[in-house]
Point group: C2
DNA sequence: GTCTATACAAAGATAGAC
DNA sequence: GTCTATCTTTGTATAGAC
């Protein structure tokens, strides 16, 4: 288990160029994968030379780590903020969570950075691999927390343990994004989000239905 | 939409070596991705030279296409057979469908071939891309058919249209497999399968519950 | 069908001038 | 910080002998 809020003391005051390199690398990993992008791609995009990139990020692994850290921190901060905000409904929080996925789905070829990296885990430097794993654990833990809370408030009906539902929820979003990009069918992601929400819709029983739903699904 | 049964008239009588090459390539794509594997990897594994591989598969793209075709056909045949078999319950059919995912999950580092390829769609030769898209469409269509049938028989309660549920189901399996491999947590896949089944569990209403469940979930 | 040899391009990375 | 130049390795692919 890892921490979400204090992900990294975002202390690093990276230069403007370094920032642009990170932006490009992030996009390239999301669209073409880590293995398939090169320093040359970034150099071309920014109008600089390969060697200049090595000044900012000595190795490709260093660059990859920096990209994932920045990405995870951005998400981590947003999730931590949502976590603290007790004013919103759990359903709203889930909506917020799905937002980035839906946004990526509107681009022709972007997926979640960590989803893309996960598909080539064994080809990744270990430092990157660990961070991707941490990202997954953090996000699924966050989702489980929100689902649990929503069930207690009677907003949702969980048909199995919150942790399991969270894993299904997360996997479905990641998988759907990959499918969407390959088939080009924009409705893929929307359909999955709709389906996920339908599964969670509270039974017409009222307040205690969340707990009731959980009980009903014994060891299931 | 594409056809499942007559996927390819599996007429090709490939040589023993070609078969071994396909096996290795399939495994390498599943574990390391298409971009990250090379003819050298296969040559090493089989104890032959790179050049020999080119005799069987002129280009890497050709090899990739052959791998995907064989993989899709294997699945396609199995699904078509299940489709024809009216004796099994829909729940059983879904169990069969999940089997390969659970088996991959038991290996340390294998995922679905097409799931792996989807993550690097833009780095793939178009012929491969198209086939992966076809695989996704076929499988989701198959799942939708089974879900629809199960709902009509009262085995399942669909909380939204079968097509949407199928997309959620498929995405969740694919996503979970990727997450599982990265985190190394064997329970990931089992949890998701459990969660998916819980979502489908028929309401205690009896026969007509499938249809009822569908009605209830209006435009949701 | 498999080998050696080789061509050719691209990759990640470093040295050192400016 | 960015450049040119260069090194080294690896990748895909071909030619031609066996």
């Amino acid at each position: 288990m890892r921490r979400l809020s204090a992900a990294t003391p975002n202390a690093k005051p990276v230069s403007a160029t370094a920032e642009q390199i990170l932006d490009q690398a992030e996009t390239l990993i999301q669209t073409r994968s880590y293995s398939a992008f090169s320093y040359q791609d970034i150099a071309d995009a920014l109008g600089i030379r390969k060697a200049s990139i090595h000044y900012h990020f000595a190795t490709k692994a260093d660059l990859g780590v920096a990209v994932v850290d920045r990405y995870a921190e951005r998400f981590g901060n947003a999730l931590a903020a949502l976590d603290r905000d007790q004013s919103r409904s759990s359903a709203q929080l889930l909506d917020f969570y799905c937002e980035p996925y839906l946004q990526y789905a509107q681009t022709p070829d972007r997926v979640c950075l960590c989803g893309a990296l996960a598909a080539e885990t064994l080809a990744l430097p270990p430092q990157i691999r660990e961070r991707v794993a941490g990202f997954f654990e953090d996000h699924q833990a966050w989702l489980a927390r929100i689902l649990e809370r929503g069930a207690q408030r009677g907003e949702f009906t969980l048909r199995t343990a919150a942790v399991r539902t969270a894993r299904m929820f997360f996997g479905a979003l990641q998988g759907a994004l990959l499918v969407k990009r390959t088939t080009g069918d924009m409705t893929q992601l929307k359909d999955v989000v709709t389906a996920l929400k339908s599964q969670l819709a509270a039974d017409r029983g009222g307040k205690a239905s969340g707990v009731k739903g959980l009980r009903k699904a014994r060891k299931n």
